[in-house]
Amino acid sequence: MTERKPILRVKDLKVYYHTDRGSVRAVDGVSFTMHEGESFGIVGESGCGKSTMAMALLGLVVSPGTIEGGQIFLDGTDIFTLDRELIRKIRWSQISFIPQGAMNSLNPVMRIGSQIADVITTHQGYQPEKILRKRIQKLLSTVGLPHRVYRMYPHELSGGMKQRVCIAMAIVLEPEVIIADEPTSALDVVVQRVVMQTLVDVQERLGAALILIGHDMGLQAQVVNRQAVMYAGKIAEIGEVKTMYKNPLHPYTKLLIESLPTLQLRHDFQGIPGLPPSLLNPPKGCAFSNRCPYVMEHCREAMPKLVEIQPNHFVACHLHSEVIK
């Protein structure tokens, strides 16, 4: 593989929510690097901090959440050093977002065309309607929608079509990074496949990097090249999907893959008993220690560090750090 330019670098990011009962450590020291045109997945259970992560990348963390530390470099610039106006400019033109519930993110009383036109004129200034319409209609056809969608309202479209409108909106300014937060969780499998197909097509055409956030290990395996598994605000394992699915190193990753029902054998799936720890008072040791089948005494005492076990394959687990020693 050729070495590609890093486009997004996250260094020791910490996002906490301050509540009356203390600070919730939603993202607690996450680091990763993404390269140009790469598809990168972030998976984890609900409440593991994956959506907070997306908000931080977009510079959209709002009270009671605060960035407690770390840096995010987008194409070399640390976005936390920029003022709000500059972040607004970067958002969408360099890093854009496809939300989870497309049905709720479109304005119900505006035609699709004018909603997309809004994005263009906000960033690029006034353009005559005729030119805008041509551009938007061309955009709609790249995501597989007919031209007349331009004049339609969101309620006239199906869920899959609305999700494709959101994809169109995310790519209109040709960003370098697209973040998709569970873009298909509300759709049926066939429509999910079509929407993902569309997303991957436009990503490849633009050469943009894609961050796919989700909890479906099956979908991740189909779409991304590399993924990070998040647990309780931290990265448990990060690596190429090809090696990770064949040989998951972290017990949590292994259990997540095993919890998926397959079509080969019946009754052959296991849940993960127990619950993730509260992020208010995270345990002293490994956050997964209370659910881990391989737990050792050491795990409850010391937090494992993320170490590179194989080339480009990192894991935070004492089972493996001992091997290295």
Binding site: E45, S46, G144, L145, P146, V149, E156, S158, G159, G160, M161, D188, V189, V190, V191, Q192, R193, V194, Q197, H215, D216, M217, G218, L219, A221, Q222, V241, K242, Y245, L255, L256, I257, S259, L260, P261, T262, L263, R266, H267, D268, F269, Q270, G271, I272, P273, L275
Partner: protein, 345 residues
């Protein structure tokens, strides 16, 4: 062996009345004045649940296929436009009060949203107290407490961790298991589970589905498992019925149908399930012509015509009937016309 067993159950079912029977059920939503405003949610649907041996029957289909409408019709929340739902031989519409009470007790429901079913102002114990009072399940407080704890243990919850808590203090998986415990308390014959795991984390899904299997095998409770997820349906169900736009596309033994789907729609559905293995990517591309997505409900013939790779002229004329293509295996597709299997073989 299997044949013998089947023959036995056949004899049994003839002597015993069917537990639940759904005959030619049709539900049309919308005003009758303007034909255009109408939406046929379910058309001419029939099925039955024998109750013994208990079975998990899946109703699968995409959104808008009529699966939730079916659940609501069976529960008596909706009145059918045509056809009837019978419980223990009696039509829901004309049932007397006593039979209705039995029906309400023996047919329980679990819904998709484990957040919406609780009143946030009361501890979760209340859902148990209400059913115990309503159905006179306990003579005194001690007994009521005992059966509640018993039910919680059955679904794998620790009573001391759950009782006295408010809904917001519990996770989605815990709340959904509470609903199963509540249903279990009533010793139902059938539980209608409408997408019980779709809002639950993958790690928890397996646990809830295992409870369903446990309740079936050890307590003789049948399930109507309504889902859009074929892989969980494959894992837990004995039989499966796949709906498309209010019609049955294919039905039969869950293993046989999902491992060797016959209807073109079911084939597409099975192929589209993302496999958690990067070495097994989706094969080929699926195109949904957008024009067709917008005008689905305007066809007289087969509802799947526009998306079907094998479309023929006759598909447009009238909807295909259900052809018998194997033991208890039906598919509504003209591809199997003239290739039916005799029912008795």
């Amino acid at each position: 062996m299997n044949v013998q067993k089947e023959a036995q159950t056949n004899i049994l079912s003839q002597t015993q009345a069917l537990l639940l029977e759904v005959c030619n059920l049709t539900k049309v939503f919308g005003s009758g004045l303007l034909q255009r405003g109408q939406k046929v949610a379910l058309e001419n649907f029939s099925m039955s649940i024998q109750g013994s041996p208990p079975k998990i029957i899946s109703i699968a289909g995409e959104s808008g296929s009529g699966k939730t409408t079916l659940a609501r019709l069976i529960l008596g929340f909706l009145i059918p436009t045509q056809g009837e739902v019978r419980y223990r031989g009696k039509d829901l519409k004309t049932m007397d009060k006593k039979s209705w009470q039995t029906f309400r007790r023996e047919v329980q429901a679990i819904f998709q949203d484990p957040y919406g079913v609780y009143n946030p102002f009361y501890p979760v114990d209340r859902v148990f107290e209400i059913v115990i009072r309503k159905f006179h399940l306990a003579k005194n407080r001690q007994e009521s407490h005992r059966i509640t704890e018993e039910a919680l243990v059955i679904v794998g919850l620790r009573p001391d961790e759950i009782l006295g808590k408010y809904p917001h203090q519990l996770s989605g998986g815990q709340r959904q298991r509470l609903m199963l415990a509540r249903a279990f308390l009533l010793k139902p014959k059938i539980i209608i589970a409408d997408e019980p795991v779709s809002m639950i984390d993958a790690s928890m899904r397996a646990i809830i589905l295992k409870i369903m299997i446990d309740l079936k095998e050890n307590f003789g409770i049948s399930f109507l498992y309504i889902t859009h997820d074929l892989s969980t349906a494959f894992q837990v169900s004995d039989d499966i019925i796949i709906l498309y736009e209010g019609w049955v596309a294919e039905s039969g033994d869950a293993q046989i149908v999902i491992k060797g789907p016959k209807h073109p729609y079911v084939q597409l559905l099975v192929e589209s399930i993302p496999i958690p293995d990067p070495e097994q990517p989706w094969q080929g591309r699926v195109e949904l012509p957008p024009e067709e997505e917008l005008e689905m409900n305007t066809l007289r013939g087969c509802k799947f015509y526009r998306r079907c790779p094998y479309k023929m002229e006759m598909c447009l004329k009238s909807p295909p009937p259900l052809y018998n293509i194997g033991p208890d295996h039906l598919a509504s597709c003209y591809l199997y016309k003239g290739r039916e299997v005799d029912k008795d073989t």
